[in-house]
Symmetry: C2
Subunit: 103 residues, 2 copies
DNA sequence: CGCCATTTGTACGTATGTATG
DNA sequence: TCATACATACGTACAAATGGC
């Protein structure tokens, strides 16, 4: 279960990380509407800098797989029950599948 | 024309910078298909870190205003003559107005 | 209410790699 | 070969939001 990062690989580490977390999401390991590990957690677990983690999260965000909230964390998309409280504008004018997962 | 950045403002510096450059693009100061100032230039001109410049460029990229090419620079979108040489996949599955400018 | 821990946001610095011309 | 420009990755620090107490 612990896909490891390879700094020597052709693929950038942050992309490898986004692949890993993204796969974990699609595999159901991280359920829709729930929080994925915090940046600190991911840093510790994978031995990378925060920057790298944030870049990876950025990829997942662009893919519409997750949504990040200041002070709260990063949630797996698709929690239609909406653990949202208010928020001025949830959508971000992205291609992003507002329904949640792509397939 | 020299809109200055205000580190004390409510709006994040990188967002202020994206506003400035974005406005310069829409005002025609930076013509479609041409290069905008390099990261080094923007750093020097505005007195900010490279990271900040890159964040600003990221905003413009998300807005579909510019396109960045490794080793080349960041171009104002709308150069339909296509200064492209080959490239595996130009689009990035973004909302991005493939035609160029939003309006 | 204030206090505090956690978490993301912003901004800086440095180094090295890769692409282009 | 070389200079320029962007890409990746590490580090630090402080701000702001959140939520439990």
């Amino acid at each position: 279960m612990g896909m490891t990062l390879d700094p020597l690989a052709d693929r950038a580490v942050y992309k490898q990380l986004s692949d890993i977390v993204g796969a974990a999401i699609e595999s159901g390991e991280y359920q829709p509407g729930t929080l994925i590990p915090s940046e600190s957690m991911l840093m510790a677990r994978h031995g990378v800098a925060r920057n790298t983690v944030r870049l990876a999260m950025g990829v997942l965000r662009d893919q519409g797989l997750v949504v990040t909230r200041h002070g709260r964390g990063t949630f797996v998309r698709g929690g239609e029950h909406d653990e949202d409280h208010d928020q001025p504008s949830t959508s971000r004018s992205r291609t992003a599948n507002s329904s949640g997962l792509p397939a």
